[in-house]
Symmetry: D2
Subunit: 148 residues, 4 copies
């Protein structure tokens, strides 16, 4: 079972970063997507805007923090995931998050100068490390104020 | 801009159908997705389950109602969209929905006997009709109780 | 790195099955996809048809063989992969294949009666077994006539 | 019907650009994708590399030419399409192409400095213009040597 999502849109907030208890960097931002569709008469129009929180881990988090600003057009690939936590009133809350496996500036809308960074071997071994990360993120969130 | 999502999982509720003011059928159900990943030791384990509401329009709504039951494994393709409405307390609410363009029983988990139905010409012209549909759905929702 | 593909279309051939040297069933068929797009005047038209070979393994192969016929509309999710082999003339050949992780009848175009089958534990552990399967398939193909 | 593909990988060739008879720029490059998977013992390994030709139109073509070099890691979103032509011997040939709707440098592997460019209104109206473009590209290819 999988929930595979790719999304193009505009970065609608500043990139927020945090360091989990396990010492890992995470970065997140809100992504706005306004699809266009052709109407019956043949002209184009905007559909309603959708918003989703994008979360990045490890080297992707570091590079997104260094490269992405509010207002940038981006393309994001990853998996959709429901994050759940208990808020200060003891109520269960959840939200949908796009856990990114890749993020890039959308070159339909501009140009980019790219600089490669070194990756450690651990970067190539995503799943169980990522899971540990996620669990520590959730532990953080369980006692934190509800996310925006 | 687009938000393209495909998801495999289990149908976690009965299929609910409604007829909009414009006389169109919509069908919706909750989809549960529990990814598996390999851990450091090599064994497999479940990740947390994600849940998402799937919405179907027109002939897809009719055929999903006739074919899909709670507990069925399905594959769904469509776009992720944020639906927003004002609740009875005047508060703005929103939720993420997978607007399906195709739904099928997942043949990794069983067999199916398929019967083709006739489609009208209008079925082939999705976008602006779909948009009108969506707007009428939203008008319905604005005055309805908040969805589960 | 990944190549994630989902495709809706018509099954253009009978489903062909084979048993690899390792005793595993594989099933394959050709999938035809004819997108529609709106033209400048507002009317809809067909774009050119694309064709791709879809390959299924293990229980998915068994269930596709039992359920899918030429002419059926299907939705397929999986990864795109280049298969390479040496033909009878010693020339390197390659083709693109959609290795399916899920296949279902497209309920926008008809109804289905679904029956769940049992899965073995091994079915839940895809990657390295799949890899072994692929290698044995390739070993078979290397000495076989070039695929259509 | 649709064939939606997203792919992360390495640019394996220089970006080639051409101007069609209709005066439009197209850019193309070969993309190499080497998935990793965990094996039975728990260690990670590379699967075989897949290769696909990526084609870009209009402003995306211009910006890819200005921004992307051989060896860059990229994320590409678009649709898979079969291009067919008749070669110099009168034989029908075809190949699979990823028609990109978005391309970006993969920020899991480095950082980027992005500069937004202006887009014309026409850029927002993709489908039928794109179709005309494609037909003119094909007319060019029909009389050209077979693509690599």
């Amino acid at each position: 079972m999988e929930a595979h999502l790719n999304m193009t849109g505009w970065v609608g907030t500043e990139v927020e970063t945090r360091v989990t208890r396990a010492g890992q960097t995470t970065a997140s931002f809100r992504l706005a997507c306004t699809p266009r569709a052709r109407r019956a008469g043949g002209e184009w129009g905007d559909l309603e805007t959708s918003w989703l929180t994008v979360t990045c881990y490890r080297s992707l988090a570091d590079n997104v923090r260094a490269s992405v600003a509010k207002g940038d057009p981006v393309v994001v690939v990853g998996r959709l995931r429901t994050q759940a936590w208990v808020d200060a009133d003891g109520q269960r809350q959840d939200r949908q998050v796009l856990e990114a496996t890749a993020v890039g500036h959308d070159l339909t809308r501009g140009t980019a100068v790219f600089s490669r960074t070194e990756r450690t071997v651990a970067e190539e071994e995503p799943d169980e490390t990522l899971r540990d990360l996620i669990l520590s993120v959730e532990a953080d969130q369980a006692s934190a104020p509800a996310p925006a």
